[in-house]
């Protein structure tokens, strides 16, 4: 079983986590076109590569961002939204 590092609780087994989908910045809903909005809510890039993802540590209720390469399944860093600590790499 994979291990994932919660920024609040440390490295825990994957069974404690819930995947929350890719993290994507929504366009400004007041200024974007209908087509831009529809693309945001409906279209996902399935191409493998480096992704920012939402993950939820279920026992503690912590949502955080994991940067993961979906091709190699390698997580390079995890952090609370908006609090990326570039000095540290998560996990290994």
């Amino acid at each position: 079983m994979k291990l994932l590092t919660c920024p609040m609780n440390g490295t825990r087994p994957l069974s404690e986590f819930v995947f929350g989908g890719e993290y994507r910045q929504a366009p400004d809903q007041d200024t974007c076109t209908d087509a831009q909005w529809a693309a945001f809510v409906h279209n996902r890039s399935g191409a493998p590569g480096d992704k920012k993802e939402w993950w939820y540590h279920s026992p503690s209720g912590t949502w955080f961002i994991a940067e993961r390469n979906t091709l190699t399944d390698k997580v390079t860093s995890t952090y609370l939204l908006g609090q990326k600590d570039t000095t540290q790499e998560a996990g290994k």
Binding site: L3, A26, G61, L81
Partner: protein, 964 residues
């Protein structure tokens, strides 16, 4: 014990303890420490089992946990591997795959009709005519499989244990032991695992007649024992590789899940047989099997033996046999040049060596229970054919065979290691190892003992550096000189029976036929021929299969590749995997009461809920209608403790709700309740519920049972993004809830509280905090199941007291408990559509007529932007309440039946039920907007295909149909 030798240095048997057991009804004796096979072999019993397909007699092949033709049963366990399982006093054993005993197996006739059963026979022969298939299936099922499952098998729970280490070393041969010691001396926590009972691997038996190597093993073992940070697990195998170095170690005691920071795979290699006619007879065994028999169990493999070899290893085996007193009739070397390293040693002992020769076929003894000789031919190594005009016969009672090795690389493959074929060793070796994985020794293509010891040190140093320590980088040079494996140790024979796979009785010609049929890819060939699909999973057959396929296709071996390696590495008893069910479910504090009162339970989300309470002999339908009638006529009470309950605290609480839900909450009065509806960003309805404002800065949210955890999770995510000044508390488990509803509800409740329950001071959609039966309670007036309803929320522990008080007070009003199934009917009568039941993953609020719940003029709420787009579009479907004809007695449509117009699908039924109170079939269905008006008639296609007319009516049904 006629084949027992004098004491061998380092033997595993304890000669002071004699053991008696029976095999196939015959009595045998053994020493403590013998395996079943070694004890039988020592006694001269050579037929130990029968092969799977042709029921051929089989004996010792590997003595390394791969002798799958020698599976025995003690009546309890089905497939005991006799080659490695220790014999115990009083065991009563029989071979599993025989009809009438291992010696006179009645099914051995199959061997003689084997030409009629070519590979793929089953796939082709039995599928037409179809009506005969059930007959053939029963015949095949009887023939297939090994052993008889014991249905009285005792239920033995094996605990799963967990452990952690810095480095896990898989394999305790010389390489693994050296690696473990080096890592431990550097201060790492080391776990070393080996499937054998004792440490040492090949160092214990690969002696070339010189037992001084045992000293080396002894010193390694005492070093291991002296290092307290080495944990040794013997009699246990690393069963698979899972991400981030999680490796289940399986032993008789159960599974230990080891989480390692790094892994050294020093698992060695499986010896591979050369392929010649009758290479499966009892008495024909792998060279390493002969060595194991001899040095572990002090059993002489045979008296007059031939060693056939295609590498130098066979010479070492011959020296070992010679030292034990076996007469070596000849050493037959398939290579034209023979061995420069060992030829002299054999010559000195007077052993005749035939280089450039092969065993063309082994000759069976008259009763086919063993070997009486071998036909030897010159061998053309270039063309891989026996030159039969040179053939001559040698007499012998056994053949030891060595041809090469296949890496025990299952864990490496599973971890995603890139492997490449190394022609220097004629073997796949790791070329690109995943992070934290290391390989050493034979599995790494290193064969010379001295090199292996250095490779163990090298791997340990790599690990130390990987974990951040300091260690030298000391690369070990690649194998030089003669390859330990032969490129193509096959001897074709026109009559076949030259076995490649002993599990499944597959011969060379089967591969040729499979390729002719077009199955010439290794994965396809595996499935068509079943090579490698037996219990040993190809450990002694896959490599030869790859070589044969490469030859058939005229491709280099690396272009053929290997089949996929998956966990588990070795068959693991189901009992090890099974365990207690951890399907956690939540019980309300009233669970015992429900049980005592005959409730039938249903699973909703994680909760067990009372669905209805049937009286003795009462049907489900009757029980539900009776309970529903009580709510309509007098009063009913339901345990709603499983409802999701969330508190939103803080100055921004109302703002949070306005962003999260579709409604407006900033102007909501303290003491009032409002409907909440949750959408996702695409505008699809997710859930709904009630928000009660208990204070300016406190909302109490109650939502449906099944979605509560997910809704709370989304609230947390939204808060993580929005960073409002609020706190979220999930009080689902802290608070219980009771809903009392019906015309008499208010009167019953009034006897238990001082609160003024008049409709003026406690109107619909309001919340009060008061005491009920002495319990501090949040009372919410809702109309979910009936117009007169009160939800009473109180601490979970006090719910039973409150419930009992209400039941007591309700006695004279015929108050009745009702369950969640009844609640479904009641809310339908009330005309409430339920998210998740009457909506699906595409339903927007306009389609269920919930426009009123949406306040588009807010700055933001989840789904708002999508709704502005949806609002511009014409509706495609609409949820409508409908009734069937009065006194309708035909086939009852079901949830999900389609609404049709001729061949067109207009929609579907989402809820439908008969209501006894209304004496009508009522429901919700999606229809096209053209038919949404009251009075429109549409057709529902019932399960049988019958069309049932339904009419759109106004909701709520109880008002429309009863005027209530």
């Amino acid at each position: 014990m006629i084949f027992r030798t004098p004491k061998q240095v380092g033997e595993w048997v304890n000669r002071t303890k004699k053991i008696n057991f029976t095999f196939e009804g015959e009595e045998f004796s053994a020493f403590e420490g013998d395996t079943i096979s070694s004890a039988l072999w020592a006694a001269g019993q050579k037929v130990l089992g029968r092969s799977f397909k042709y029921h051929r007699a089989r004996g010792v092949l590997s003595l390394a946990n791969h002798d799958v033709n020698v599976l025995v049963t003690d009546g309890i366990d089905t497939n005991i591997r006799a080659d490695v399982v220790e014999v115990k006093q009083g065991m009563v054993l029989t071979a599993v795959n025989t009809s009438g005993g291992v010696k006179k197996d009645k099914n051995s006739y199959i061997d003689s009709i084997s030409p009629l059963l070519p590979v793929g026979f089953y796939y082709k022969a039995f599928h037409t005519p179809r009506r005969l298939f059930p007959f053939w299936e029963s015949v095949i099922r009887k023939a297939a499989g090994l052993g008889i499952v014991n249905f009285d098998y005792p239920r033995i729970l094996k605990r799963k244990t967990h452990s952690h280490c810095d480095v896990l070393v898989v394999g305790a041969g010389p390489t693994g032991l050296t690696a473990a010691c080096t890592a431990a001396e550097a201060g790492l926590e080391v776990t070393i695992v080996d499937e054998n009972r004792q440490l040492g691997g090949s160092l214990g038996y690969n002696r070339a007649g010189d037992s001084s190597v045992v000293t080396e093993l002894d010193s390694l073992m005492s070093k291991v024992a002296s290092l307290p940070n080495i944990k040794v697990m013997t009699g246990a195998y690393a069963a698979g590789y899972y991400p981030d170095h999680l490796i289940p170690i399986v032993s008789e005691a159960g599974i230990n899940k080891v989480r390692a920071k790094s892994v050294i795979v020093a698992s060695g290699a499986f010896e591979q047989p050369p392929v010649f006619r009758y290479n499966d007879l009892p008495g024909v065994m792998l060279g390493s099997a002969a060595q194991r028999l001899l040095y572990r169990y002090a059993v002489k493999p045979f008296n007059n033996g031939i060693v056939v070899t295609a590498n130098d290893y066979g010479y070492r085996v011959a020296l070992d046999l010679f030292q034990a007193g076996t007469k070596i009739v000849a050493l037959v070397d398939m290579r034209p040049t023979g061995s420069t390293a060992y030829a002299a040693a054999l010559a000195k002992r007077g052993v005749k060596v035939y280089t450039g020769h092969c065993v063309y076929e082994a000759i069976a003894s008259s009763d086919k229970s063993g070997v009486r000789g071998a036909i030897i031919c010159a061998y053309d190594e270039k063309q891989s054919i026996a030159l039969t005009d040179t053939k001559f016969t040698l007499e012998c009672d056994g053949i030891a065979m060595s041809a090469g090795w296949a890496p025990a690389g299952a864990l490496l493959y599973q971890a995603g290691t890139g492997m490449q074929f190394d022609y220097g060793v004629e073997q796949f070796v790791p070329s690109r190892l995943p992070n934290g994985m290391f390989a050493a020794g034979k599995v790494n293509g290193i064969f010379e003992l001295e090199q292996r010891l250095r490779d163990g040190v090298r791997a340990a140093n790599d690990v130390i550096r990987h974990l951040g320590g300091q260690a030298p980088q000391n690369d070990v040079e690649k194998h030089v000189g003669i390859s330990p494996s032969h490129a193509y140790p096959m001897v074709p024979h026109p009559k076949g029976k030259n076995f490649v796979d002993f599990d499944e009785d597959i011969q060379i010609k089967d591969f040729v036929n499979a390729a002719k049929e077009g199955f010439d890819n290794i994965e396809l060939m595996k499935r068509f021929t079943t090579v490698g699909m037996g219990p040993s999973q190809g450990k002694h057959s896959n490599m030869n299969a790859i070589r044969i396929l490469a030859r058939i296709r005229g491709l280099p071996v690396e272009k053929i590749g290997t089949t996929t390696s998956r966990p588990f590495f070795h068959p693991t008893p189901i009992g090890h995997l099974g365990g207690r069910g951890f399907h956690s479910h939540r019980l309300t504090s009233l669970h015992d009461w429900h049980q005592a009162n005959g409730a039938v339970f249903t699973d909703i989300g994680a909760w067990k809920r009372a669905a209805y309470y049937p009286a003795a002999g009462q049907s489900k339908e009757d029980a539900i209608q009776t309970e529903a009638l009580a709510v309509r006529k007098t009063a009913g009470i339901i345990d709603g403790s499983s409802f999701g309950k969330i508190e939103i605290h803080g100055p921004d609480a109302a703002l949070f709700l306005e962003r999260f839900f579709t409604g407006v909450y900033t102007d909501q009065k303290v003491g009032s309740c409002r409907y909440v509806m949750l959408l996702d960003e695409t505008g699809v309805v997710v859930d709904d519920g009630i928000a009660s404002r208990l204070a300016d800065d406190l909302f109490y949210l109650s939502i449906g049972t099944s979605n509560a955890a997910a809704v709370y999770r989304e609230m947390q995510r939204s808060q993580q993004m929005w960073q409002l000044n609020i706190g979220l508390v999930n009080v689902t488990g802290a608070f219980g809830a009771i809903n009392i509803a019906g015309p008499a509800a208010r009167e019953i409740l009034s006897t238990l509280t001082d609160l003024d329950l008049s409709y003026e001071s406690f109107p619909m959609s309001s919340v009060r905090e008061s005491h009920v039966a002495g319990v501090e309670t949040r009372m919410i007036r809702v109309a979910f199941v009936a117009d007169n309803g009160y939800e009473l929320h109180a601490p979970m522990g006090q719910i039973p007291h409150l419930w009992n008080a209400l039941i007591e007070a309700g006695k004279k009003h015929a108050l009745r408990p009702f369950g969640s199934d009844t609640q479904r009917l009641l809310r339908l009568e009330m005309g409430h559509a339920m998210p998740g039941v009457d909506t699906d993953g595409l339903t927007n609020p306009f389609e269920i007529g919930a426009d009123w719940a949406i306040k588009m003029d807010k700055p933001y709420f989840i789904g708002q932007r999508s709704l502005t787009i949806l609002a511009k579009r014409p509706l495609r479907k609409q949820l409508v309440p409908f009734v069937l004809a009065e006194n309708y007695k035909g086939e009852m449509p079901m949830d999900c039946n389609l609404v049709v117009d001729g061949r067109d699908i207009l929609g579907r039924v989402t809820s439908i039920s008969y209501s006894k109170y209304l004496d009508r079939c009522i429901g919700f269905a999606y229809v096209t907007p053209a038919r949404k008006e009251v009075g429109s008639v549409f057709q529902i296609r019932a399960d049988s295909g019958a069309l049932v007319a339904a009419t759109v009516v106004k909701s709520p049904f109880i008002k429309t149909l009863k005027g209530a």
